[in-house]
């Protein structure tokens, strides 16, 4: 069933949800949020898209199969944990690089393995939820 209201609404909702999901992912570093909830929101945006325009259209917009996305995410999360091997720490110990300083307070930019891990979680949740929901919608 195609609803013109839903289609028009989806055009606004989908990008908004996607941007908000990225916001949640980044915010999660020190505040409530993070990869899991971000991934859920991201998946929601594509679910709205699939309801409005059909699952085939959603899969086309996604370009990569959600299963692959989820597994790549698992790989990224694992990779983030494995970075610790180079510094001799235990698995999944957070690794920080302070640029322009030497601590959290003074550094102007601090790339770290924790964000990478969160991105991995984001993709796992995003891909996992989407693959289930799309499969269910196609069955029904």
């Amino acid at each position: 069933m195609k609803s013109i209201i839903l289609t028009a609404g989806a055009r606004l909702l989908v990008p908004l949800l996607l941007v908000f999901s990225i916001f949640m992912l980044l915010r999660g570093h020190n505040l409530p949020g993070g990869g899991f909830i971000g991934g859920l929101l991201g998946a929601t945006s594509f679910i709205v898209y699939a309801i409005a325009l059909g699952t085939a259209e959603a899969r086309r917009a996604l370009r990569v199969s959600p299963e692959t996305l989820g597994m790549v995410g698992l790989g990224i999360a694992l990779g983030a944990g494995l970075i610790a091997v180079f510094t001799g720490d235990a698995l999944f110990t957070g690794q920080w690089l302070w640029i322009g300083g030497d601590s959290y307070e003074t550094a102007s930019f601090a790339p770290n393995s924790i964000l990478v891990f969160d991105v991995g979680v984001y993709l796992v949740v995003f891909g996992g939820i989407l693959s289930m929901v799309l499969a269910l919608e196609e069955e029904l």
Binding site: T68, M71, V72, G75, A90, L91, T93
Partner: protein, 502 residues
């Protein structure tokens, strides 16, 4: 650096799962899976060597100190279980090269398989009770995927029963964890070992212990919670059912052994007495159930249940000899049972079925296969000099030491009935002529399939022989494991540091 010995056997299957999934459409995916299993075997042997050398190892993941972070711990029992997991995993993945069709590989068979192995390994290595629940879930989800992969009607039927009953068990387990956390404020197993005895309301502790017993009991398929097992294990591919039969129920037994030696030892005369009679009933019902079956794999499935009884019996006795028997039994049974399921797969290819009334004549066609069947079958029944003899011998000896004459009698009688079931398979599948008058023969099986299927069967049979003929080092390892289980001081200090010693 210690923590990487612990992390490696866990990380490798996950990496393999990701790589195998991304390469699932090409031949390479299969080889990645084989290479991953081999690498895991190497990593687990290194862990084993380290544990035998230095005693209990503990590592804090993410550098969060215990009891706040997730701890991985390997005592001798964990290390042994990880090694045996890796051996089974490698054997089954090689077997799968001949048995798992390309269609299933494209659906992600190897990814699910490796994720399940990771779940099993995680459950053996974790030192955190909630983390144990997480590994159970990883294992459950991926094993459910494996069970229904291919999607035939009976597979889905089996899958639903499997997942429904396992969810009930996880619920009991989770409720237990919640109450335990409420009483002690800790989830770290080593810390629980210290705080649980100090809880004022010991009656409530026993209630929680029963919740754990039910939760793990379903996983281990003990009486009266075993119904899901024979309903599920005969439907998927032989590779899948072999690894299920070998490993999955043993995770439940391992978890029982862990919590009922480390945490819930305050009321041994009550909890372990229950375990003792549960074990006896499990042995008897399993073997009687098997006697009523006529399908190769269903007979073997019921025998898993009856053998689980012996392992739980070893735990229930709660003596060194009993635990030695339990641990030894655990290891021996994983090898033997996985091997029997693998042989059932070859027999099906050669004779065209698994229903005993519809196959036959295998001995004439493939005497070597007959020999390969006899080794694990007699080992299962407990014939000397095979591995099962020593396992049964130690368990029964421990039972007699405590004067449980009746249970010891049951254990021996069940052994006798096991021979009855095995000879039933032997007579029907190997000796009697094929009912359709055709000559089954291994040459009907494609060579490219037969060779990878035979290699692990022979390998596991040799392993059974080695354990049987040269049991001394294995018994010694089992003794170390049993001593560490009975006196958890080393476990606790490895996790929490020297000053925490009770």
């Amino acid at each position: 650096m210690t923590s990487w010995f612990l992390a490696a056997p866990l990380v490798i299957p996950f990496v393999t799962a990701v790589a195998a999934f991304l390469l699932r459409n090409s031949e390479t995916g299969r080889w990645v899976s084989v290479a991953g299993s081999a690498a895991m075997l190497v990593a687990s042997l290194l862990l084993m060597a380290e544990v035998l050398d230095k005693g209990v190892l503990a590592g804090q993941m993410g550098n969060w100190p215990a009891p706040f972070g997730i701890t991985l711990v390997a005592d001798t029992l964990s290390a042994v279980m990880v090694v045996i997991t890796a051996i089974t995993s490698l054997a089954v993945v090689i077997y799968g090269m001949g048995e798992v069709p390309v269609r299933l590989e494209r659906l992600g068979y190897h990814a699910l398989y490796n994720a399940m192995i990771a779940g099993v390994t995680g459950a053996f290595l974790t030192g955190d009770i909630f983390n144990l629940y997480v590994w159970f879930e990883v294992m459950l989800i991926s094993s459910f995927g494996l069970l229904v992969l291919g999607g035939t009607k009976e597979q889905l039927d089996a899958g639903v029963k499997y997942v429904a009953l396992n969810l009930v068990s996880t619920l009991a387990f989770l409720a237990g964890i919640g109450m335990l956390y409420g009483m002690t404020g800790s989830l770290n197993m080593a810390e629980l070992a210290l705080t649980v005895p100090q809880v004022e309301n010991q009656a409530l502790v026993t209630v929680v212990a029963m919740l754990f017993m039910v939760g793990f009991g379903v996983k281990a398929a003990v009486f009266p919670l075993f119904f899901w097992l024979p309903a599920a294990y005969h439907t998927p591919r032989f590779s899948v059912s072999a690894v299920f039969a070998g490993l999955l129920t043993k995770v439940g037994v391992y978890a029982l052994m862990r919590v009922f030696t480390l945490i819930f030892v305050g009321d041994v005369s009550f909890t372990h007495e229950i375990l003792l009679w549960v074990a006896a009933a499990t042995m008897v019902t399993g073997v009687l159930g098997a006697a009523a079956q006529t399908d190769f794999r269903k007979i073997l499935s019921f025998h898993i249940i009856s053998q689980i009884g012996y392992m739980v019996l070893g735990l229930a006795l709660y003596t060194t000899t009993g635990l030695v028997g339990g641990v030894f039994y655990l290891v021996h049974h994983i090898i033997v049972k996985a091997n029997l399921f693998l042989i059932a797969g070859i027999a099906q290819k050669a004779a065209g079925g698994n229903e005993l009334s519809r196959i036959g004549g295998l001995y004439k066609a493939a005497p070597f296969l007959g020999l390969l069947f006899l080794i694990p079958a007699f080992s299962l029944a407990g014939f000397p000099p095979l591995s099962g003899f020593w396992a049964k011998f130690v368990v029964v000896k421990a039972t007699l030491e405590l004067g449980h004459w009746f249970v010891a009698f049951l254990a021996l009688a069940v052994g006798l009935l096991t021979i009855f079931s095995m000879t039933k398979i032997w007579a029907a599948a190997f000796w009697k002529p094929h009912p359709d008058g055709i000559e089954p023969s291994l040459s009907r099986v494609d060579r490219g399939e037969l060779v990878p299927m035979m290699i692990p069967v022979v390998g596991l049979a040799v392993l059974t022989m080695i354990i049987g003929l040269h049991p001394e080092p294995f018994v010694q390892i089992a003794e170390t494991a049993a001593d560490q289980l009975l006196d958890p001081t080393a476990y606790i200090t490895a996790v929490l540091g020297e000053e925490a010693a009770p």
